[in-house]
Every structure is written in structure tokens, then in C-alpha cells.
């Protein structure tokens, strides 16, 4: 328990440090929200007046302080451009990206676990090399290309699945699922291939361990020994990679969101930067950074669940 408290503390500090760094980076961004909002008929005094209204003329530190204080009680501030509160909008979009990333990770695991274990088990046989060659090829396909090809085959040719867009779960679960199939597939395909290589090397190294031989000597058959004794031990290295992969998935999601036109965080981020909507960017990035840090925390906790040796530290 003590451990969890310490971990969450470091997480919070990390999140705030991250948001401060992000704020400084954004301050460096040329052009400001008022200029963009006024567009082609921006006159200097109009810009000044609007900046004052937006509050972007205040010194940076106060702007950050206001924002940070607001964040403490869950208020992400209002975006100058769309005059809407940022919180709900980011939350809504984050939900969408979350579904996409979760779906992508599920697809990745569905591909990686069997492929990794099989290619390790057959690693002497041609089937094994074929499988690992396939996973090699899988890594080489960029996510947006996979997306384009899937759209071409399933949406255009077969017409079975929608080519893009998003239907929220609450609205219509059937449609929601159908709209998420292709994006999750294209996101998960690439990550699955990469993950399967880590699973393969983890299982390979586990196969050489002595306790596997003890298990076989007990009378357990080859496959039973691998699953019962091998996989739990292979889980630890795979978990570390899962943590890293999630941040890669978040980036991949941004690209896939654009190919399948899903209103996720990536899309919001791109628009926010174009509009120089600093508070919105700040909100999105902070949510992203916190999400990844939470994932790291989860993987840490999962370590302790899977491997008793780590429980004592």
C-alpha cells in the first residue's frame, strides 16, 4: 500500500512538471490565438483588444498559475477560440482515443501472444521462421498505409464496413463496433507485429530456464510446461514492452484518427495547434502525459502481481 501512495505521488509531480514544460514550449510558438482568430482582417488594435479578452496578454507565469489552479479542481479552463469549457470536450475526445487505443492494444495482443509463443516454440522448425518473418514484415507497414489499404479492401471494395467516422457507444453499440473495427485493426496490426517479436524472445529465453526442465521432469508435457510455467515468467519482460508500446500507440492513434476521421484527441490536438488555442493544447497534452504515466504505474503494479520476487522491494 505504501508503495502505491509513493508511486501516485511521483506520478502527480511528473504530470505537473510535464504540464509546465509543455506550457513553456507553447509560449515559444510564434503567432498567437488572437491573431489567428481575427484571421485576414487582423488590425493591430483588434489583436490587442482580443488578446486582452482572451487573457493571453497577461505574463506567462500568471497564465500558467491560473490554469494550474483551475486544473486542481478539474476545470481545464475555457478555450478562447470556441468559448467552450475545455474539460468536457477533451474528456469526450479522450474517450474516443481511449477506445481506439484499447482496441488497438487488444488486436496487438491477439496477434502477438499466439504468434510470439508459436514462433518461439517452433523456432527450430521452418514454420517458426516463417511466422517470425511475417511478424518482421508486419512491423514494416506504416499505420496509415495499413489504414488506407484496409479502407480500400473493406470499405470501398466490399463495402461491408464504414470507411470512416465514429458513432459513440451510447448512441448505437452495433455501429460503434463496426466503425472501430478497421481503425483498431490498422493500429493493432503494426503494434502486434512488433510486440510478437518481444514475446518470442521472452518465451525463447524462458524455454532455456532450468525450472522448465524440472517441470518436464515432473511429467508435464511440452506444451503444458510451456503454458503453465513458461508464460507467467515471460509476462514480466513483455509487460515492460507493453508500457513502452502504449506511448507508441498514442502517436499511431493520432495518424489513424486522421485516416479514419475519428474525432479523437489527435485530431483535436492538430486543430488546437493550428488555432494556437494554447489552453486546449495544454489540456490535451496534459491528459496524454497523465495517461502514459498512469500506464507506467499500472505496469509497475502488474509487475508485483506477476513476479513475487519484486513484491518485497
Amino acid at each position: 500500500m505504501y508503495l502505491i501512495v509513493r508511486k501516485t505521488l511521483t506520478l502527480l509531480v511528473g504530470a505537473f512538471a510535464a504540464s509546465f514544460v509543455v506550457f513553456c514550449c507553447l509560449a515559444v510558438l510564434p503567432g498567437n490565438a488572437a491573431e489567428v482568430a481575427l484571421g485576414t482582417n487582423a488590425t493591430p488594435d483588434a489583436v490587442a483588444r482580443l488578446s486582452e479578452e482572451f487573457g493571453t496578454d497577461r505574463p506567462l507565469l500568471t497564465q500558467y498559475a491560473d490554469w494550474a489552479l483551475g486544473l486542481l479542481h478539474g476545470d481545464f479552463g475555457t478555450s478562447y477560440v470556441t468559448h467552450e469549457p475545455i474539460g468536457p470536450r477533451v474528456a469526450d475526445r479522450f474517450g474516443v482515443t481511449l477506445w481506439l487505443v484499447a482496441g488497438g492494444m487488444l488486436v496487438a495482443l491477439l496477434i502477438a501472444l499466439p504468434a510470439g509463443v508459436l514462433s518461439a516454440a517452433w523456432h527450430r522448425k521452418p514454420r517458426g521462421t516463417l511466422l517470425s518473418a511475417l511478424s518482421q514484415a508486419g512491423i514494416a507497414v506504416p499505420a496509415f498505409l495499413a489504414g488506407l489499404l484496409l479502407v480500400y479492401v473493406f470499405a470501398v471494395r466490399a463495402g461491408a464496413l464504414p470507411a470512416g467516422g465514429y458513432v459513440p457507444l451510447a448512441e448505437d453499440p452495433g455501429e460503434w463496433a463496426r466503425h472501430l473495427v478497421l481503425p483498431c485493426l490498422s493500429l493493432g496490426l503494426v503494434q502486434g507485429a512488433a510486440l510478437s517479436r518481444y514475446v518470442r524472445s521472452a518465451v525463447l529465453s524462458v524455454q532455456r530456464q532450468d525450472y522448465m526442465r524440472t517441470a518436464r521432469a515432473k511429467g508435464a508435457r511440452r506444451w503444458a510446461a510451456l503454458c503453465r510455467h513458461g508464460l507467467p515468467n515471460a509476462a514480466v519482460p513483455v509487460l515492460t514492452v507493453l508500457g513502452l508500446q502504449l506511448s507508441a500507440l498514442l502517436v499511431g492513434a493520432i495518424v489513424v484518427e486522421r485516416v479514419f476521421v475519428i474525432p479523437g484527441l489527435g485530431d483535436l490536438l492538430l486543430r488546437a495547434v493550428a488555432d494556437r488555442d494554447l489552453l486546449l493544447i495544454q489540456g490535451v497534452v496534459t491528459v496524454l502525459v497523465v495517461a502514459v504515466l498512469v500506464v507506467n504505474l499500472l505496469t509497475d503494479v502488474l509487475y508485483r502481481v506477476v513476479d513475487p520476487r519484486l513484491r518485497s522491494r
Partner: protein
């Protein structure tokens, strides 16, 4: 986490399921129930009040549908009466007298009277903060003559003002209806705002007691897409009946099926200008400017960059402008002459900073311009700038560029070349005077004077006009009455109906 706002109306949901279950390539004929229409657009309005917020999206949805002006502009660019049955211009051109239609009511029930007209005109001068309101500055005062007559006196005669009254600044507001313009606009138009889910769609309902010919459609829902690709997909899937604006002509190949789709290819008022910085070397020398015009093969550019869609123009004009000079202002492709001009000006091998907005049409056009100018001795380096932020600050405000490419979408915007502080940095008093005379002079001579001004602009090679953006739309084959040309600022649906009904 709050639930996402309700995204689709029951109608759309039904269609999605229908389209999904049907085998074959989205062969669903799309929903086409009696009198509803779904139009897919790209740019989403920030609010519903174009008096307070700038941007083309709000007038596109509301002008002509919800709001109406005293006068309107027809598909050929001619000014026609609307809420004013007829109007007279005084001999000295200073006073316009509008005779208002009788028994016209606002959607909040209040009658449309002269007081509302005067209130609307005064409002633009006093309350509006936007730059576009400056066009009303020429008005000295608006006076109510009687319940349905209004006299407007100008400080100096201006034909342009009358045309401006067909745009958003001419929209008539009800004195009692300006409470919540951001969300509940009150107008006299054929439609009222039914509901608006920000980020998703705006629903217009038929105005039961509309003074004019009632529209055949009882509901038009404008659905906003972030990405043109998605809009095309929705059209293919039958989610929308009209693609309001096709951005990439090459995608039209997907709507080749004549039985289901019709492609509407009208003209717009968006001139894609290859702007040259007239205030600094080498473009301060007219010969180099002319060399650029001769050095570009406009036909080839239109064919490759836009697959031939769009109109070739020679000056800051559109076919729907009464003074449109057709091909006369255009410059023939003559690379030898261009090379000679560059040599004469001693500008061979100069390196030009071509700073363009990071928009698809600009990026593809720039690559062609760079390649063609290279063959005449001008080396252009392309530098895409993030749009709108960096392009606005670097090119539009600071004019730190040699060449740029951007579409100027406002109608009748030949004025921008009269303002030396505009990013073209083009300072030609003679041109500005001609425009003023056209504006101040009698309406009959307006076109001839503008035509002369635009010819001078073209001969002086203030800039090079690559092409006029087409007004590309894709609609369900069975739809009729859609506006072909984009002339005014509004996309009017009053005349639209399903054929065979």
C-alpha cells in the same frame, strides 16, 4: 466522463444501419424521404452570430436561409429586390429609397417594419466590431419615411454599398429579436434554426409563415465534417445527400456513377492568386512580374493540380461579376518572352522565397510554379507555413515573402489591390482612383470602369491569377434546384427539391 452530445438524428442512424446492412458497394439509394435534405460541409461555424464572429461558415448557413436583406444577388451576380419590393437611387446617387414589402413577419412573430430596417443598418455602424462592417461607413444616416419606406443617405455615392447590402451586413434583424444571436438567430427567411449540436450538425426547419414561395423541403440538416475524405465517404455511404464543397477534384472519380450522383461544377468568387511582393526586389520591376505571368503555363497547372476543374482568369474578377472580361485579361504562355524579360531586368538566377500556406491546393500549385519558373531563370524555394497562424503573421501581416499562393474567397474583392498596406504591397493610385470612380459613378458606368481598372491591374501584372476555384458539389442524382455558382455569401436551399415529387 460526460456522454458525448447526441451525434446523429434518428434519421441519420436509420440510414447508417440501412447502408451498413446492404451488400454491394454502398448501393443504398440513400435516404430520400419526402422533404428532408442532409448537406455535408467542411468548415464549421464557431457561433451563429455573424455580427460578432468572423468567418465564411456562418453566412454560408444563414444568409438567404434565415436572414434576408433588403436586396439580394442572383446566380448571375445581378442585384435583385428582396425585402424591399423596389428601390430608387437619387440622381446625385446619395440617397436610396427602399419600399418594403408588406405583411412580412420575423420568425419570432414581430412584423418587419421600417424601424427594423433602420435599426439593422444603424447596428452595423455602431455595434459590429468586425472589419467587414467598415463597408457601412459610407452611410450618413438611415431614416424611416413611413411604416414601409426607408431612405438611406450616403456621404458619397457608392454603387459598391448597394452590392454590400446583399451580403451579411445587409441582413435585416428584428428589434426585439437580438437577445441571443449567438444561438437563436431571428430572421425573415424561408427557414428557422431548428437545433444546433456544436461540432456535429445544424438543423434548419421550414418557416411556416414565410412571406415568399415556401421551400419544398421542410428540414435541411447541415452536417459538418473535419476532413474532406470523411465527407466523400459519407456521401458514398449515403449518410449525406449533398457534398457542399469538394476540395480535391481528384476524388470526383469516386462519384462517376451517373445513376446515383450528379457533379455540380459552377464558378465561385475565390481567385487563387500567385501574389508577388511588389515592394521589394525583384518584383518591384514590372518586367519581372510580367515574366512570371508569361512563364506560367496556366492550362497545364489547372490540368495537373486541379484535374482541369476551375476557370482560368486574368485579373481579380469572377464570371459572376458583371464586369467579367473573360479571357481578355489572360496572358498567353510564352516562356521565351519570359526568359527575355528576366534577362532584360537582370534578374536571372534570383532566388525567390515562395512562402505558401500548408494547404493542399497551394502546395500542389507551388510545385508547378517552381518547376515552370525554373525554366525561365527564376529559382523559387517553396516554404510551406503552418496555416493560418504562421502564414498570417509572416506573409499577411509582415509581408516577408517574394511569392505566395492563396485563394481570396470574398466576392468583388478587387479593392484589396487598392490598399498599399495589403500584403501585395501594390501601390498604384491610378488604379485606386478608377475603382473610386466606378463606385461613385452612375450604376450604368460601374461595370465599364471596373473593367478598365481590372485591365490596368492585369497589364501592370500586380499579381498572377492562377485560376478561379470551381464551386464543386456532388449531389444525389434526384435533387434539383441546387445553386450552381457560389455568388453571394449564402448557400440557399429555398429552391431545392427532390425530383419526381
Amino acid at each position: 466522463m460526460t456522454l458525448p452530445p447526441r451525434r446523429t438524428s434518428a434519421l441519420l442512424l436509420g440510414c447508417a444501419l440501412l447502408a451498413g446492412t446492404l451488400a454491394g458497394c454502398g448501393s443504398g439509394s440513400g435516404r430520400q424521404s419526402g422533404d428532408a435534405l442532409t448537406v455535408g460541409l467542411v468548415a464549421e461555424p464557431a457561433t451563429l452570430d455573424f455580427s460578432g464572429t468572423d468567418g465564411a461558415a456562418i453566412p454560408q448557413a444563414l444568409l438567404g436561409n434565415v436572414y434576408e436583406g433588403l436586396v439580394r444577388v442572383d446566380q448571375q451576380g445581378r442585384i435583385q429586390p428582396q425585402l424591399a419590393e423596389k428601390y430608387e437611387r437619387s440622381a446625385d446617387g446619395l440617397t436610396y429609397t427602399f419600399h418594403l414589402r408588406k405583411n412580412v413577419k420575423f420568425t419570432n412573430g414581430a412584423p418587419f417594419t421600417a424601424d427594423d430596417a433602420v435599426f439593422s443598418i444603424d447596428q452595423v455602424k455602431t455595434r459590429w466590431k468586425l472589419k467587414v462592417a467598415q463597408q457601412m461607413a459610407v452611410v450618413d444616416k438611415a431614416v424611416k419615411v413611413n411604416a414601409d419606406t426607408v431612405a438611406v443617405t450616403l456621404k458619397h455615392p457608392s454603387n459598391n454599398w448597394l452590392y454590400a447590402m446583399t451580403s451579411r451586413i445587409g441582413a435585416m434583424y428584428s428589434r426585439t429579436g437580438v437577445g441571443d444571436l449567438k444561438n437563436h438567430p431571428v430572421g425573415t427567411g424561408p427557414f428557422t434554426v431548428g437545433s444546433w449540436q456544436r461540432g456535429d450538425k445544424l438543423i434548419l426547419r421550414r418557416n411556416a409563415d414565410y412571406w415568399g414561395v415556401k421551400p419544398q423541403l421542410n428540414q435541411v440538416s447541415l452536417k459538418y465534417f473535419k476532413d474532406a475524405g470523411a465527407l466523400n465517404n459519407a456521401m458514398l455511404a449515403g449518410d449525406v445527400n449533398v457534398v457542399g464543397a469538394v476540395q480535391a477534384p481528384e476524388t470526383l472519380s469516386r462519384f462517376a456513377d451517373k445513376s446515383r450522383f450528379q457533379v455540380i461544377d459552377g464558378s465561385s468568387t475565390a481567385e487563387v492568386v500567385l501574389s508577388m511582393n511588389n515592394s521589394r526586389k525583384p518584383f518591384i520591376d514590372k518586367r519581372v512580374r510580367q515574366a512570371v505571368r508569361y512563364g506560367i503555363d496556366h492550362e497545364a497547372l489547372l490540368k495537373t493540380a486541379r484535374f482541369g476543374r476551375g476557370t482560368l482568369i486574368g485579373s481579380q474578377e469572377a464570371p459572376t461579376d458583371p464586369w467579367y472580361a473573360g479571357d481578355s485579361n489572360r496572358v498567353p504562355y510564352d516562356p521565351a518572352k519570359a526568359k527575355q524579360l528576366v534577362k532584360d531586368a537582370g534578374a536571372e538566377g534570383t532566388v525567390l522565397k515562395m512562402r505558401i500556406p500548408n494547404l493542399p491546393y497551394a502546395v500542389s500549385a507551388a510545385q508547378i510554379v517552381k518547376d515552370q519558373l525554373a525554366q525561365v531563370g527564376l529559382k523559387a524555394d517553396i516554404e510551406p507555413l503552418e496555416f493560418p497562424a504562421r502564414w498570417l503573421s509572416e506573409v499577411f501581416n509582415k509581408a516577408d515573402y517574394d511569392l505566395s499562393i492563396i485563394a481570396h474567397s470574398e466576392p468583388r474583392d478587387q479593392w484589396i489591390f487598392a490598399d498599399p498596406s495589403y500584403y501585395f504591397r501594390y501601390d498604384k493610385p491610378a488604379y485606386a482612383d478608377l475603382l473610386k470612380q466606378a463606385d461613385a459613378g452612375p450604376p450604368q458606368e460601374e461595370s465599364d470602369r471596373y473593367r478598365a481598372a481590372l485591365r490596368m491591374l492585369s497589364q501592370d501584372a500586380a499579381a498572377d491569377w492562377l485560376y478561379l476555384m470551381p464551386n464543386l458539389m456532388v449531389a444525389d442524382a434526384k435533387l434539383q434546384g441546387l445553386p450552381v455558382n457560389q455568388v453571394g455569401e449564402g448557400l440557399e436551399f429555398a429552391g431545392v427539391r427532390w425530383s419526381g415529387k
